[in-house]
Structure formats: structure tokens, C-alpha cells
């Protein structure tokens, strides 16, 4: 401990031990506000992260029900369960919701919850922006659900190709709801990504240099950067679409010199990185679970990190493999074949390193690891079918057929959702303080695993037999009936698995075994604090001594001191080596981000109906932003106090104390 004690702390030193005193003061300082206004003011990353995760799973269930309806419709040929109008809405909302409202947000939500804990800080950077992003995401999702329930949902596919989605071929407001839903979710995703990058780069605990960062944090960092570079493209192209539809611009109208292919380039320039945005965090989850359940660090850490980063870069060079059938020049297509094949290399490296980790370790087959093993069996197959899709000639036959449907469910459900569910089983004790039931979890896993393969494997064959995607029915004579029926029956198992999962979550939350701080004996910092973590995350910010923060910790490990506990002060460290640099103060909880999100959402929804929504929204938006950024009166007073020399020292002086404490 340093010899520096803040005067306020000194004054409070009556009867309590210093630990207990600190605990109380931190809890006071980092309080989570109560009451209705308080509920909407919370800026704690754990609360927001939990809400994000629960909301995303809500959308997952909704979109899953839609998938069930599709499987009922396709179970037999010439079915009249739903008509083309409803079916087109259902598959559009299913795809849109799974991609934009479940998969990306839930992965970012895992990051929002876990990253600050894993890197040893008190909150996510820009906590108010974090709250704002959650509400914008929530409102955008609710809007899409509402359109579905009102039978006026988008019906032009999750990719909304123009000119079909343009004003001439989709009159009404359906495609506008789609375009604005994009804006909602992308604003939210961009906000979270900025927070994550800042959090990871600037607030890591001292000693956690980049080459000691947990693989999950690396995966979130890569994901956040991918979001920052990919999402603006989709905001741009969906806004062009909205302008074409509302104010008569002609970006995509070939009759007026617009270009129908422009949409596809812009959309897939986002759309292909999007699948890696979903998949890369899942790789981080897989690494976390494998290391925890083999009690060994992941084999080949540098190779794993380089693979993640390489995936992030190469992911931007593949978008044209969604456009092989458009008639682009053959030489150009072959470049994209090569690029699409190259991305299999970093993925292969990671698979091999995990197999080496499992080989070297002593696997304990609890539910989280089972889901990861299921991930292997499914994802490797999906990755290989992805390699076949990279071949232009083969793709020309299977493109937009059920083969592709099978492929991307193998990589997205198998590659991302299986690890995610495993991750929920893994981190549930940390998030709630209770263990999930392992026996139910194993039943859950087998239902999912068998149900998944029965549902999606036959789709490979259906695609090779020529069944196109996005058809609401098919004639009996095509011979696709049997496999479709098998697939629909498999979906039933998936539904059962889903119900069991929800039951297990609810039951365990109420009556599960109480979890210790580190029930799995895992290596990363989130397991150093209590389960669930206190609002301030760590009593003392730890000093990290190795790649496995907990396994490498010496018994007399030092902690950071000198950070004020009477204000929301956070230690900032440098990007490469996580050396302490300075301190900063995070804002108090506030209702303004919520109000700002309400106004923003009203603007987004209003702009579907009239361009005047923009000028009308500016004044209230300005008011909420002013409220949000209004400086605190106390700031000035404190600044004076800190420079007055009455026993306190300015930040530079305190940081010196800090460095000494480390030494």
C-alpha cells in the first residue's frame, strides 16, 4: 500500500477496518440508482449488459418462433399454412432479427458485461453512451416486433435487394421499417464498439500488456474494430434506400442512372464482415471455456491472436462471393475465390490450436465444454461447406439454394450460438451467483445437437437437389417433401431444447446452487471478484503478473492504490503495456441518455413517414444532449481543492505514488 491516503478516507477512519470502509465507500460511490427514474438511469455495465443479453434472447425466441412457422409451412409440399405475403414477412423478420437484433447485440452484450471484469476495471468507458445504446437497440427491436405483429413487417429479405425494396416494387412502409431498424441497431452497435475499444485500450489493469490480454478480450477488440469499419457502410446504404423511398432520390433506380448493383456491393461489404462480427466473439468464448475446462492456457496464444486479427482483416475482402452470379468479370471473381479460401487458414489454425489444447489438457465434461465440443463437430463441417462455396463454378449451382441455408446455419448456429449457450452456462454463476443445473444442461445440449443436425443437415442435400431459398412452397413433383419433413421434425427437438434452456435459466436463477467466486477454477480476472460482482467490480484494482491472470498470481500480488473511492475514479493505462498513465472520472448515472434515446428513436421512426422528422427532432435532441453533457458543479470545486495543496496532491503526484506501489 502506498503511504498516500485521501483526506476524506482519513477522516472516516473511526471504527471500521480499512477494507470494510473502502468496500462501503465504493458501494456508495458506484451506486446503482433505484426507483423508476433510477431504473432508466443506470449506467453500470453489468446491469446494462444483463439487460442487453436478456433482450437479445427475447428476440432470439421471437425469431425462433418465426423459424418454427417456416418449418411448419415447408414440412409438406403445396402447404397452405401461411400464404406468400406472410411467409415473406416471416423469413425476412427471422433473418433480420437473428442477424441484427440477436447475434450481433448478444455478442456485444457479452463484451459489455465481461470485458471490464476481465481487464480489471470498474465500468465500461462512456457508461452513459452504453445506456443510450441499449435503449436505442431496444426501441429498434420493439419496432420490428410491432411491425410483425401488425402484419406490416418488411417482406423483401434480410438483404433487401433493390430494386425490389425500392419505391416502385415495395410500396407502403414495409421496407422503410427495415431500413430504419438497421439504423437503430447500427447506432447501438457502433456506440458499444467505441466503448469496447476505449475500455480495452485504456483501462486495462496495470500489467495486462497486450500480449497478456485474455483471448476473449482480443476477440471483442477485433469485433469492435470490424463493427466500426463495416457498419457505417450499411447505415449508408440503408439510408440511401430510405432517401430513394421517401424523398425521391434515385441511388438505386437504373431508369434514372442509379445502380442496382451498388446496393449489393455496399450491403455485402458490410454483410460479409457481419458474419465474422458474430463469429469472432464466439471464438473468444470457445477459448475461455476450453482453458477453464482443461485447466491449461490455450495452446499457441500468439497464433490465436494473430488468427483473430487476420480474420478481422481478411473478412473485409470477401464480399463479392455473395455476388458470383451477377455476371462480374471472371478474373475479379477468382480473386474473391482466393480471398474466401484464404480466410479458412486463420480459422484452421485456431481449430488446430484448440485441438492441441484439448489434447494437452485434462477435459472435464461439464455442460459449457459439451457445447464447445458440439461447436467443433458442427462448425468444422460448416467451415468446409464454406470452402466449397468459395469456388465460383460450384457456387453458381448452390448459390441461393438450401445448401447455403444449411451452410450458414452450420457456421452461425454451430459456430456462434453453440459457444454462446455454452458461455451462458459458463458465466451464469458469475452473473447471478448461482450455478446452472448441469444435468438439465446436458439434456439441453443433446437436444440442441441432435435437433440441429436433423434440422439442417438435410438442407445440404435439398440444395444440391435444386431447392432454392425463400420459396414459400414447392410442388410435390420436385421430390423435396421427405427431407423437408425430416428437417421440420428436427426443428421440434430444437424447440424442446430451447424450452429446456429457458426453464434451466429460470430455475437456476431462483434455486440454483450458490456459486463461489471461481467455481470452475478459471484463469481470467472476472473470476477474482465475488459472484455476482459488486457494483464497483473489484475492491482493489489488481496488478496482472502473467497471461493467466489468476493462475499466474503470486501470493503477495500487489494491487493498485491511490485511486479515489469517493468519486467514480478509474485508472487509465497505456495501450501497449498497460502502464498507469493517469486517472479519469466516469459520470454519474443519469436519465438523460434514456431521454436522448427516446427522442432519437422517435426521430428514426418519424423519418419513415416524413423527412420533416429531422428538423422537428433537432431541438429536443439538442435539449437531451445538453442535459446529458451538462458539467457537474462539483467538478470545479474539486479541481480547486485538488490544486489548493491542502494535503491532497494533483493527479500527477498521486500517480507517482501509484507506480511506487507497483514497484
Amino acid at each position: 500500500m502506498s503511504d498516500f491516503v485521501h483526506p476524506i478516507e482519513r477522516r472516516m477512519a473511526f471504527t471500521l477496518t480499512s477494507e470494510e470502509r473502502l468496500r462501503r465507500q465504493l458501494a456508495d460511490t458506484w451506486y446503482v440508482p433505484r426507483g423508476i427514474v433510477g431504473w432508466f438511469s443506470v449506467a453500470d455495465h453489468k446491469t446494462i449488459g444483463r439487460r442487453y443479453i436478456i433482450t437479445a434472447f427475447g428476440f432470439f425466441i421471437f425469431a425462433g418462433i418465426l423459424a418454427g412457422l417456416m418449418r411448419i409451412q415447408l414440412a409438406v409440399p403445396n402447404n397452405h399454412f401461411v400464404g406468400p405475403d406472410l411467409y415473406n414477412q416471416i423469413f425476412t423478420v427471422h433473418g433480420t432479427m437473428m442477424m441484427f437484433l440477436f447475434a450481433v447485440p448478444v455478442m456485444e452484450a457479452m463484451g459489455v458485461y465481461l470485458v471490464p471484469l476481465m481487464i480489471g476495471t470498474r465500468n465500461i468507458a462512456f457508461p452513459r453512451l452504453n445506456a443510450f445504446s441499449y435503449y436505442v437497440y431496444l426501441f429498434g427491436g420493439v419496432m420490428l416486433v410491432a411491425t410483425m405483429l401488425l402484419n406490416t413487417a418488411p417482406d423483401v429479405g434480410w438483404f433487401s435487394y433493390v430494386p425490389l425494396a425500392g419505391p416502385d416494387y415495395t410500396p407502403g412502409k414495409r421496407a422503410d421499417f427495415w431500413a430504419q431498424m438497421i439504423t437503430f441497431t447500427e447506432v447501438a452497435a457502433l456506440a458499444v464498439s467505441v466503448e469496447l475499444v476505449t475500455t480495452i485500450f485504456k483501462t486495462r489493469a496495470p500489467g495486462m500488456s497486450l500480449n497478456r490480454m485474455p483471448l476473449f478480450v482480443w476477440s471483442m477488440l477485433v469485433t469492435a474494430f470490424m463493427v466500426i469499419f463495416a457498419m457505417p457502410t450499411v447505415v449508408l446504404c440503408s439510408t440511401f434506400l430510405l432517401l430513394d423511398r421517401t424523398v425521391g432520390t434515385q441511388f438505386y433506380n437504373p431508369a434514372e442512372g442509379g445502380d442496382a448493383l451498388l446496393w449489393q456491393h455496399l450491403f455485402w461489404f458490410f454483410g460479409h464482415p457481419e458474419v465474422y462480427i458474430i463469429f469472432v466473439p464466439a471464438l473468444g468464448i470457445v477459448s475461455s471455456i476450453i482453458s477453464a475446462f482443461t485447466w491449461r492456457p490455450i495452446f499457441g496464444y500468439p497464433a490465436m491472436v494473430m488468427s483473430l486479427v487476420a480474420t478481422g482483416f481478411i473478412g473485409f475482402g470477401l464480399w463479392v462471393h455473395h455476388m458470383f452470379a451477377t455476371g462480374l468479370p471472371a478474373l475479379g471473381l477468382e480473386y474473391f475465390t482466393a480471398a474466401s479460401i484464404v480466410i479458412a487458414i486463420p480459422t484452421g489454425i485456431q481449430i488446430f490450436c484448440w485441438i492441441a489444447s484439448l489434447w494437452r489438457g485434462r477435459p472435464r465434461f461439464h455442460t459449457p465444454l459439451l457445447f464447445v465440443l458440439g461447436f467443433f463437430a458442427i462448425f468444422v463441417l460448416g467451415g468446409l461447406s464454406g470452402v466449397t462455396l468459395a469456388s465460383v463454378p460450384f457456387d453458381l449451382q448452390v448459390h441461393d439454394s438450401y445448401y447455403v441455408v444449411a451452410h450458414f446455419h452450420y457456421v452461425l448456429l454451430g459456430g456462434a450460438v453453440f459457444p454462446l449457450i455454452g458461455g451462458i452456462y459458463f458465466w451464469f454463476p458469475k452473473m447471478t451467483g448461482r450455478m446452472m443445473d448441469d444435468r438439465l444442461g446436458k439434456v439441453n445440449f443433446w437436444l440442441f445437437f441432435i435437433g440441429f443436425n436433423v434440422t439442417f443437415f438435410p438442407m445440404h442435400i435439398l440444395g444440391l437437389e435444386g431447392m432454392p431459398r425463400r420459396i414459400y412452397t414447392y410442388p410435390d413433383s420436385m421430390g423435396w417433401g421427405t427431407l423437408n419433413l425430416v428437417s421440420s421434425l428436427g426443428a421440434l427437438l430444437l424447440v424442446l431444447g430451447g424450452v429446456l434452456f429457458v426453464y434451466n435459466v429460470v430455475r437456476s436463477y431462483a434455486w440454483g446452487l450458490v456459486a463461489s467466486d471461481n467455481p470452475w477454477g478459471a484463469e481470467t480476472l472476472e473470476w477474482a471478484t465475488s459472484s455476482p460482482p459488486p457494483v464497483y467490480n473489484f475492491l482493489h484494482i489488481p496488478v496482472v503478473e502473467g497471461r493467466s491472470a489468476l493462475w499466474n498470481r503470486s501470493p503477495d500480488a500487489s494491487v493498485v492504490t491511490g485511486i479515489r473511492s469517493d468519486v467514480r475514479e478509474v485508472l487509465l493505462t497505456d495501450v501497449m503495456d498497460a502502464e498507469p498513465v493517469t486517472v479519469t472520472e466516469y459520470p454519474e448515472p443519469s436519465i438523460w441518455p434514456f431521454l436522448c434515446a427516446v427522442v432519437t428513436s422517435a426521430f428514426f421512426v418519424g423519418s419513415i413517414f416524413t423527412p420533416w422528422a429531422l428538423p422537428v427532432a433537432i431541438p429536443p435532441l439538442a435539449v437531451t444532449l445538453i442535459g446529458w453533457f451538462w458539467p457537474k458543479k462539483r467538478d470545479h470545486a474539486r479541481e480547486m481543492e485538488e490544486h489548493a495543496g491542502d494535503g491532497t496532491v494533483p493527479p500527477e503526484g498521486r500517480l507517482r505514488a501509484l507506480r511506487e506501489a507497483r514497484a
Binding site: G157, L164, L384, Q397
Partner: protein, 318 residues
Amino acid sequence: MIFRFGGDQSAFDPHGPIARSIATHGWWLLLVCIAVYFIVMTAFFIALARRRRETDDLPETSARLTRNVGIAVALTVLILIGIATSSVVAGRGLYSPSGAGAITVDVVGHQWWWDFQYHDITPSDVFTSPNELHIPVGVPVVLKAMSTDVIHSFWVPNLMGKRDLIPGIVTNTWIQADEPGVYRGQCAEFCGHQHAHMALQVVAEPMDKFQQWVRHQREPASEPSTDEEKRGKDVFMQSPCVTCHSIRGTDAGSHVGPELTHVGSRLTLAAGTLPNARGHLAGWIVNSQSIKPGNRMPPNALAPDDLQALLAYVRSLQ
């Protein structure tokens, strides 16, 4: 090939050089991938099930693992280079016609039907064949892909892969059948309400039969011969039919819907939705919306006599 996938639209049941080349390449691709899958899964199960040893945590073990991972990555790279090369070789010449084709046909996509327009230097010899592409066997046919409304994708799995029909962009591709036959195809790019019912037939015939067909198609519609057919023609000309459909040799000249000059000789109705039979035609004319909801043809409340006469006339347009 060893076994075939079933169904009319199987990509592994090729009847033309393009589809055959893709199918051969596709089989190799699938076999290699299946082999890799089983090798990776074997390594995976060995890693899980192997007996653990005291030496596992020694640095030598780590070094051995590193070497093995390196070998696996090197093999991956080699296999991927093989796949990329095979893909480029298999794809050579598949996407655009290598030389001049025997004939050129415009493939025009509409919501939700196909129009095949046969070129000729003599303007009066140009004709269209909705939803039915006739080609001579054994020679390449150049296809010019285009669309008048939204994006569609032309796909006949037995003969060739997909080619998108994009409004504002015309691209060239080609098709060839090696054996006479009727091959089914279907729109592969989501194009709205009735994407599911946008099929087509490719009719491949020996050259002489094909030329006979072309000569017949160039002729205007046959005049009605019976009284009922004559009355049917009047019904056609006085009802909403005439606002969208054309029949060459008559006053009906609108090109909104498919041309009907030789509709009686076609295999299917409504873009492969129904077999071309009298009962289906009647149902289609009276209320096509019950068969293909959302299609552009309105219901026609015709008196029973008028309907019978109209059917007789339309069926006579051989």
C-alpha cells in the same frame, strides 16, 4: 458418377457441358471436404479420449504439438491451393460464351415469369417464347440476361449454374444441352411475392426439330376455325385480356403480360405453375389469384358460355 441426387433440378444430374464440368468439380470438392472433416474429427476425438500422461506438461510435448499444428496448417494451405486451382480450371469458359453461339436469345425477367426473345436480322422473324426456352441439342446458345423490373436469377441446374437478371445491366452467358429433353429451371433470386412460382422449361431438341419449331413460332396466330373459337376470339378482344396480352396477327398487341400467339402449344401455364390443360387454364383465367396469389393478372368474372368459348380459342392457338 457413383450415385445421383434425386429430383428434376439436381445439380448432380448434368445434361450439358457446363453442368457436367461443375458436377465433376463439385464431387471432388465434396469428397475432399468430407475427407478433411473426418480427419479433423478423428484428431479431435483422439485429443479428447487419449490417456493422459505425466509428460504432457513438459516443454518437449509442447514443441511436438507446435510441430504437429504447423504440419496441419501447412497441409491446410496445400489443400486450399489445390481447391482454388481446381476451381479456376473448372470455371474456365463457364461464365461467358467462348465463341459465337448458334443462336442468341434474350432472357428477360418479369415478376413472375420469363420471356425468351429470339433474335433475327429480319425484324418480322423476331419472336418471343414466354417461360419456355427451346434450344437445339449439342450447340452453345448465347443468352443475354436482363430484367425489366427487379432482380431475378436464371437457373437450370441440369444444364448450367445461375446468372442474375439485373435491371439496367445486360450480361452474356451461354447454355448447352447434350441430350434432347425437357429441363426444369427456377428463379433463384428472391423477387417478391411469387418467387416460388417462377419456373421455366428448357426444351432441347435436335436441330431440325428446333428449326421446325422456330418456323412455326414465327408465324402469326392461327385464325379461329370453329364458331365457338370465333366467339372466343371476340370475348378475348372485348374483355380485359387484351389490355395486357398480345396475339400476333390480331389486334391484341400489349406486352405487359406473356405473349399468347402459340400458347396452346406450351407445356405449362403461369411460369411452370400448372400443366397446360383446359381445366387449369379455366381456373387460371377465372381466378388466378387463388392459384398464384399476388400475381399481376386480375380475376375475370366471365359468363360460363363466354369462358368456354374463350378456352376453345386460347387452346386453339397452337
